[in-house]
Symmetry: C2
Subunit: 262 residues, 2 copies
């Protein structure tokens, strides 16, 4: 089995190293990841400047290919240029920090998996909540490997991917796994306004404590309650429920703007 492994924390991040080590007995792992950290880049792609592929060594050992671009760039470039036969599965992670709720829109980790799915390859995003005191990445990577192993026994239908989040507790305290839906409300993020030494204002984005949010059946509640969360995602954003309603609005003479001109 050919596995493409990527992330958004960068090729030197501990999460990708730990996960690579754990999944190496599942198949042949090719790492293609950003040269530098790309957290929060969302589904950005690079077309204004060219990309380069760099062979990356660590402690005299080849660990993978580094790309000075986004996680989605890495997936595109890996599939088009590096893994010419195509991967059997694309795994993005292990991200240090959960990717739940509307944060999956900001997440480079999830974007890489979405990109793979769009290109027609099965994909899984895997993130480790470190908002608690617990941050043993080796323990989380072994749980991630278990989850990935189970998923690989099945065929993911075209157009879909899985978003896995691991709670911030030791694996022997985890309660199990839950299939969840995305928590689809705002986290009410704010800005901290500060004044620089020259008297000018600047603003830091301030996240909220996600553990305060609760809605039964969602990704965020699952990890807050000590469960591994597996959320099936799709990349068709169409709101089919709103389709007929919008059709029924008055769209007569919509291309005419004579009324404005006269």
């Amino acid at each position: 089995m050919r596995i493409l492994l990527t992330n958004d924390d960068g090729i030197y991040a501990p999460g990708i190293a730990a996960l690579k080590q754990c999944i190496e007995d599942l198949g042949e792992v090719t790492v293609v990841a950003p040269d530098i950290e790309q957290s929060g880049v969302g589904h950005s792609i690079t077309f204004s400047y060219p990309l380069r592929i760099r062979e990356v060594h660590l402690n005299n050992e080849f660990i993978g290919y580094g790309v000075r671009g986004s996680p989605a760039d890495c997936v595109k470039l890996a599939i088009c240029e590096i893994m010419k036969e195509g991967p059997d599965i694309v795994i993005s992670g292990l991200n240090m920090g959960s990717n739940v709720g509307i944060h999956i829109f900001y997440s480079g980790t999830v974007a890489a998996a979405v990109e793979a799915a769009i290109m027609g390859f099965p994909s899984i995003a895997v993130s480790f909540d470190i908002s608690g005191d617990y941050d043993d990445v080796q323990d989380a990577a072994r749980v991630a490997k278990n989850v990935i192993g189970r998923i690989l026994k099945h065929r993911l239908p075209k157009g879909s991917l899985l978003n896995v989040n691991i709670p911030s507790i030791p694996s022997d305290q985890m309660k199990g796994m839950r299939v969840t839906r995305q928590f689809a409300h705002d986290f009410q993020e704010t800005f901290s306004k500060r004044i620089d030494p020259s008297g000018k204002a600047y603003y830091w984005l301030v996240g909220t404590d996600k553990s305060l949010h609760h809605e039964e059946g969602t990704d965020i509640s699952a990890i807050n309650e000590g469960y591994i969360s597996v959320t099936p995602l799709r990349y068709d954003l169409t709101n089919y429920h709103l389709f007929q309603e919008v059709k029924d609005w008055n769209w007569d003479d919509i291309t005419s703007y004579k009324e404005n001109k006269e």
Copy 2:
């Protein structure tokens, strides 16, 4: 009516200026947009460095607030810091270039509208296909204003937004409007590999000719056939169709990895 207007082409772009001029008789327009072009940034957000808000003047006239950040940053900052009463509607555009199919994931224009919807405000992304020979931004902006005016007669339900694309033809040749779904297939983008003067390889992302794609009922077919495309979107990515199937997989003892340790 308080209108927040943003884009991803930057505050000096002709599209936002043309649209601002057209919609000024719909309400009070506040422009908060990126300082510099942000095309392809997707739904990125900025938390690794602070943001600043700059009052922007053009020809001695105040035109709006510039932010050295992404379109999503602009929306967050506008709503949290600049428009304390909150906008009645958030409009993102007019983008020079269509945002259809899976390109809506890469689009800063759409991301700004998604961000507004997540924060609980009605929002519309508006893009102008310029892949044909036609690129009269004033004409397209007047059509956009018509479409926006029609939408404002209705209430968009929470959790949804509209993605509007205007075809690359004069308004008097447009055939009307279609409510469409997102074209949900890969556009088969590739890379052009080149060699730099020092002999090293670099890669340019090469888009495909979207006019080659056709699927009845989709955003891309609508604009290719000369219709304005209006696609209702949602920001819940959960694939509910896959829910039960994933639940039915074998998840027994998922948190145990004793087998790996021994």
